[in-house]
Symmetry: C2
Subunit: 187 residues, 2 copies
């Protein structure tokens, strides 16, 4: 059952990789995890910086990306994408890498959870154990900044400062990803 | 073993309540959970808004609270506590309620995890299953805004806007807490 499902998911992953739909910065980690018979990855993101328009606080379903970057950004990158509407709010966010790992049994789930935790992914936990046992590997670096409703409410100096922080948050979490890769190699 | 540990933790909780160290807004939830023999709560927060000085991004160990509120705040509340230092950065954060629940076995852990998830606590998961099985009940409302390093980099208009959002985030997550209480009553 687990092996069959893994084969299906791995076929889809190969397809996604060939179509450039998987972050390059997380490929090593995915390969290292998927090389072990007791795990397979179901979804992932290498961490990102994004500009998001939301019709209302927390309404993620109807949110729209104005810009999305998987690496460091400049002030100019951001300004190019920044736009306001007559309602809703625009957020700048910086998110940690996230990896969902299906595990063969609870023992292996706990093992990879502890490994990721020891690399600084302090928000790692078992997200579900209903049909599949899914471990969510997640770190704590995060910036969620509302920039304004109908118009931008901060100035260039602040935006540059914010981008510096967003970039540093991304950098910090990428270092954790490298550490995780090292540990996975000798797992 | 579980029952003995629960008695110890409950004695400490009673002491904390009598010393006013537990958020009033989460007491109903704690009592509802603790009234069931298969669970006990180990730590909790009803959600809060806080001003935090951090020596460096993500350095939570050496961070210091400049202000901490478990209810809605005003612009004046915040300004009173806002101060900058010659290094480090000041953040305004708004955090979801959080409850850690020790569970008797995996079946009961999954049960309360699913209940909390269905009330909108979408970041709920099993945090550890080593010595104890701990479910972390957590929602997604969150604001993490760096306000400046040596000085404030935003103006009053933006701060008022930010506080409005922080208050709304708190309000939203408190509604989820009420929904959780209702469901726990008929659990």
């Amino acid at each position: 059952m687990f092996e069959k499902k893994k084969r299906e998911v791995m076929d889809k992953l190969k397809e996604a990789i060939s179509e450039n739909r998987v972050d390059k910065d997380i490929l090593d980690t995915l390969n290292l995890i998927n090389s072990r018979k007791e795990y397979y990855t179901t979804s992932s993101c290498a961490g990102r910086i994004a500009l998001i328009w939301m019709p209302d606080l927390g309404d993620k379903k109807r949110a729209e990306f104005l810009g999305k970057w998987h690496g460091k950004i400049t002030y100019e990158d951001m300004i190019e994408c920044l736009e306001f509407r007559d309602h809703g709010v625009v957020f700048l966010i910086s998110q940690s890498p996230i990896i969902h790992v299906a595990s063969y049994d609870l023992k292996s789930a706990v093992k990879i959870r502890n490994l990721a935790y020891s690399c600084g992914f302090k928000n790692t936990g078992i997200k579900s154990i209903n049909k599949n046992i899914i471990v969510e590997i997640l770190s704590t670096e995060r910036i969620d900044v509302p920039l304004g409703e109908k118009e931008l409410l901060v100035d260039e100096e602040y935006l540059r400062f914010l981008i510096k922080y967003a970039n540093r948050a991304l950098e910090r979490s990428r270092k954790k990803l490298k550490k995780l890769n090292e540990k996975l190699r000798s797992f």
